[in-house]
Structure formats: structure tokens, C-alpha cells
């Protein structure tokens, strides 16, 4: 295939991928966009096979087909609540693949061209640290690794040392070609270690930011690998993916009120409330039965709540990750249906960082068949809390904590929160009343207009459902 033809095809395919991404920005066209991107990717693979005349390499086909089968099998099997770890895992694979591409180049080409060698060195570093970092992130999200930040003595100096070592090796690799294999192996080891060390220090609640960042890194690794092997389409697509990861990282940081630098250096206050995340994620829901007896010791009585829900016109439901952990999303949908049957209008208020990855809560609710028209983003619903009759909170804490507006010096101060506190009646179905991941007490629980239903969200929701089923 001649160069001009090849580059024109690349331009067309890139345009297709970009159009696919543009279509992803609206629900109606998103499926089409995804299909278009996938089609362009398939076409790109064929074009590259054709250009380098690789059709006859049997092993290559076997790898492509096994990869395709494994990928599709995994995609069909994964549960929606496991999406964050699935994405982290796939991210890691992408990073490792980019690093291996660079490794092959370094192994084979000597003397090679300086630009390609420098790019290969960079791709090795970024690719391997993306791989190991993603594996740790996936482990944390899957509860195989403790979610609390693990901070070693001298953690920051160790990371800094790794970074300097990587920088030196990256400079050395193109200059010292006889020792290139040694340098590449060293670089690989340091980058792998760096990824692990840096991901271990990130807490479970900061994972939406971490996986956005790793996503950006895997794209960048791909782009740099593309520079190594002189593959313009890969460079371009890698750049787009990198940009997307950066945007999501920015959005997540803004909405969690964290600076990226703080998260990377582990300077978060999360470990203060060590007991809480463990209690929330490790205890099976069934063990919560006795706590429910102590429920609603609070202010607004159960009877008031039931009466209010029975006659409510406007209800806003605020789901949090606790709902997902209790797997209560289908009951939430039933609650919403029951309220609607009684003539209420039900809206769902979704905080941008609800869940464990950007947009996660929307996907979980959508799986429970809540129509996406009922899902409202924070800025669209925040003014409506004052106007609604009842706000029902299910497994959300930090994102509704009014202390974010007042408690200066706490980690959540200044974080945008859902204005649940403005609702005339607040029903909270949370596991317990401990502080959330941020470790800040929630004054909402002590308000006169708040009714607490502590314990397993499923049982609390069943109570509410029963009340709604009575005297229809």
C-alpha cells in the first residue's frame, strides 16, 4: 500500500472515530457512535494488516481472535457494579500492550533512530506504570486489596526516587544502545514498581479520579508507542483518549473538591474514619438486622414519613454508592414506581461523583430500568429540593453533607453537594450514621425534619414500600 493512500485511509478512519465520539455526547446517538468507533477500529486493523502484508502470519490471527473472544466474553459477563474494576483492568491491558510494543522496538532495532528510541523509552515507562497502577486500582475496587490508602514510611521520597530513575533511564536508553536491553529491563522494573507504589496510596473513595487518570495515561502510552512504530493513526487516537482522561480527571477533582496533587501525594483525610468504609463494604447486608431495630430513633417518626410519602406530589430520590453495595437499585425502582402510582412525580438527583467511576450511578440505575429522563445532574436539580415534598436518601452521605458549605478546614469544605438539607422532609436510608469516606460528621442526621432508617437499605426500602402498598 502506498504512503499517500495509507495516510488518506488513516485520515478517514480518524474522522470516523472522532465522529463516533461526537455521537457519544447524546443518549439517542451514543450507540451508533460506539458502533462507528468500533467499525473504524476494525477497519484500521485490516488496513494495517494490508499495509505490512501480515495476512500470512498465523500466530497473529490466533492472538487477534483469542483477544477478541476473551474481550467479548468478559464484556458480556461483567456486572454493572463491577464496571469500575473492569475498566481499570482493561486499561492495564492497554498500557501493557503499549509497553510491549516499545519493548519489541528496543529489542529489535539497533542502531535505531533517536526519536523512535526516546519515544520507546517513554512508552515503556508510561505503559508499565499504567499496567501495574491499573492492576492495583482494580484490586482495590474489587476488594482484593484494602481500600484504605497504604502509606509507607518515606513514600514520597521513594516515588520521587523512582521518577528520577525513570527520567535518567529514559535519557540513557537512546544514547547507550549497546546496553539498551539492560536499560529497558531496569526501566520496566522501576515503572512497574512506581505504578504499584502510587496506586496503593490512593484511597477507595478517590478511585473515580485514579481510574480517570489511568485512562488518560493508557491513551498517552498508546500515542507514544505509535510514535515509536511510526503509526499516525495510533498517535492520533492515543491523543484523543489522553484528552478524554484528562477532562474526566478534572471534572472528578472539581466535584470531589480535591486537587490532583493531593490525591497523588496521598494527602487526603480519608484514613481518619478507617472503620466506616470497612463497615460499609465488608459487612454482609444480612448482618445488619439488629441495627434496624434501633432505626428511626430520630426526629420525624416513621408514621409521619409513611403519611408524607403516601400523599407526596414531588419526591426526589438521592442514591449513593451505599445503594449499589446493598444492591438495592431494583427496590429503589419499585419505590419510585409505587410513588408514581400514587401520583407523585419522582426525580433522581445524581451527584457527579456518586459511585466508583464517572457516571457510574446513572448506569446502575439504568440497569434497574429507571428511565434516564428521570436522572438529574446536580446543577439541574439543586434548586428543586426546597420545592419538593420529600427527599429520600439511599446510601449517600458525603455528597449530601451540608457541612461542606460551613465546616472550614475539613476535607469536604467547598465541595459541591446536593442541597438535600433544603427539603421539607428528609428520609435517610443509610447503613449507619457514621461519617462517610471524608470523615466529617453529617449534621443532616440531627435535623428535626430528618427520619433515619438505619440498617440494610433493602429492608428500609421494603418498609417504605409496604407503607405505600397499604390503603392505596
Amino acid at each position: 500500500m502506498s504512503d499517500p493512500l495509507y495516510y488518506s485511509l488513516c485520515a478517514v478512519l480518524l474522522f470516523g472515530v472522532m465522529a463516533g465520539i461526537a455521537l457519544l455526547s447524546r443518549v439517542k446517538t451514543a450507540s451508533l457512535g460506539n458502533g462507528l468507533s468500533a467499525l473504524c477500529m476494525a477497519a484500521a486493523i485490516i488496513v494495517v494488516l494490508r499495509r505490512y502484508d501480515l495476512f500470512s502470519l498465523g500466530g497473529l490471527w490466533i492472538c487477534l481472535i483469542i483477544g477478541l473472544a476473551l474481550g467479548l466474553w468478559g464484556a458480556a459477563k461483567v456486572k454493572m457494579i463491577q464496571m469500575p474494576q473492569a475498566v481499570a483492568l482493561l486499561n492495564g491491558f492497554g498500557g501493557a500492550a503499549s509497553a510491549l510494543v516499545a519493548a519489541v522496538y528496543v529489542w529489535d532495532r539497533s542502531p535505531g533512530n533517536g526519536f523512535a528510541y526516546t519515544a520507546a523509552a517513554l512508552a515503556l515507562a508510561v505503559g508499565w506504570l499504567t499496567f501495574s497502577g491499573s492492576m492495583v486500582a482494580a484490586g482495590k475496587l474489587h476488594n482484593r486489596i484494602r481500600q484504605q490508602p497504604l502509606i509507607w514510611p518515606g513514600h514520597s521520597p521513594i516515588l520521587l526516587l523512582c521518577l528520577s530513575l525513570m527520567a535518567i533511564l529514559i535519557c540513557l536508553l537512546p544514547l547507550w544502545q549497546p546496553g539498551r536491553i539492560t536499560a529497558a529491563v531496569l526501566l520496566t522494573l522501576v515503572a512497574l514498581f512506581f505504578g504499584i507504589a502510587f496506586a496503593l496510596r490512593i484511597g477507595g473513595a478517590d478511585m473515580p479520579i485514579a481510574i480517570s487518570l489511568l485512562n488518560a495515561l493508557s491513551g498517552t502510552a498508546g500515542a507514544i508507542a505509535g510514535m515509536t512504530v511510526n503509526e499516525p493513526l495510533l498517535v492520533a487516537i492515543g491523543g484523543v483518549v489522553g484528552a478524554s482522561g484528562i477532562i474526566l480527571t478534572q471534572i472528578m477533582c472539581r466535584n470531589m473538591n480535591r486537587r490532583l496533587a493531593e490525591i497523588l501525594t496521598g494527602a487526603t483525610a480519608i484514613s481518619k474514619s478507617g472503620g466506616m468504609p470497612a463497615a460499609k463494604s465488608d459487612t454482609p447486608p444480612s448482618a445488619a438486622r439488629e441495627t434496624i431495630a434501633a432505626a428511626s430513633s430520630g426526629q420525624a417518626g416513621e408514621a409521619d414519613v409513611f403519611a408524607a410519602l403516601q400523599s407526596a406530589r414531588q419526591v426526589i430520590i438521592v442514591p449513593g454508592y451505599g445503594m449499589a453495595l446493598a444492591q438495592a437499585q431494583h427496590l429503589v425502582k419499585q419505590l419510585s414506581d409505587a410513588l408514581e402510582r400514587r401520583g407523585a412525580e419522582v426525580k433522581f438527583a445524581i451527584h457527579p461523583v456518586a459511585g466508583r467511576m464517572p457516571g457510574h450511578m446513572n448506569v446502575l440505575l439504568c440497569e434497574a430500568e429507571v428511565p434516564y429522563e428521570q436522572l438529574y445532574e446536580m446543577q439541574d436539580i439543586n434548586e428543586q429540593f426546597a420545592l419538593c415534598d420529600v427527599a429520600v436518601v439511599i446510601g449517600a452521605n458525603d455528597v449530601i453533607n451540608p457541612a461542606a458549605n460551613t465546616a472550614e478546614g475539613t476535607p469536604i469544605y467547598g465541595m459541591p453537594v446536593l442541597k438535600v438539607a433544603e427539603a421539607p422532609l428528609i428520609v435517610v436510608c443509610n447503613y449507619d450514621r457514621n461519617p462517610g469516606y471524608a470523615g466529617v460528621e453529617n449534621p443532616l442526621y440531627d435535623m428535626k425534619k430528618t427520619a433515619l432508617f438505619l440498617g440494610d437499605a433493602k429492608e428500609s426500602l421494603n418498609k417504605l414500600l409496604q407503607a405505600l402498598a397499604e390503603n392505596v
Binding site: A22, L54, I66, N91, D108, G226, V241, L248, E377
Partner: protein, 97 residues
């Protein structure tokens, strides 16, 4: 291709991507992310080049592993994205009934 062009392409694609992706609403951020994830598997293109040009059998095996991993990334990424988007879409059609 000249190295300078590759760098220009990288910069231009990053800027263009930034503009495009800013428009995606947070409702769709999880599918966006998994879709981007699938695209980062574009490194399979690099892996194919590498496999074609590999000199030693060891390096060829490396390239094959890269193809395998990148392909899992591509197929898995597009697969989960399609699954999620179908959920969104399926709901809408039901509403219409």
C-alpha cells in the same frame, strides 16, 4: 513519516479530542470512559506493526502478547460500552410504548 508530523498529529488530536469530549454529559461518562478505554486498545495497530517487523522470536512473542492484550482491551471496551448504551436505549423504547 517525519517525527515532527507525529508530534503535530498528537497535539492536534489531543486538542480536538478535548473539545469533543467536553460536550459529553455526565450521564454518559461511564460509557464514554469505557469507549475511550476501547480506543486506547488502538495500540493493537502498533502491536501488529511490531509483530510484522520483529526480528527475533523472543521479540515476536512479545508482539503477539501485545496483540492479545490490546485486542482484549478493544473488544472488552467496545463490548461493555455497547451493553451499557443498550440499557439506556432499551429503556427509552419501552417508554415510547
Amino acid at each position: 513519516m517525519e517525527s515532527i508530523w507525529l508530534i503535530i498529529i498528537f497535539a492536534a488530536a489531543t486538542l480536538a479530542g478535548y473539545q469533543l469530549i467536553r460536550q459529553v454529559p455526565s450521564l454518559l461518562h461511564t460509557p464514554l470512559m469505557s469507549g475511550m478505554n476501547a480506543l486506547s486498545g488502538a495500540t493493537v495497530l502498533g502491536a501488529l506493526c511490531a509483530a510484522g517487523a520483529a526480528v527475533y522470536s523472543g521479540s515476536r512473542i512479545c508482539a503477539y502478547i501485545a496483540i492479545l492484550l490490546a485486542m482484549i482491551n478493544v473488544a472488552g471496551g467496545f463490548g461493555v460500552t455497547a451493553r451499557m448504551l443498550n440499557m439506556f436505549k432499551g429503556k427509552k423504547e419501552e417508554d415510547g410504548q
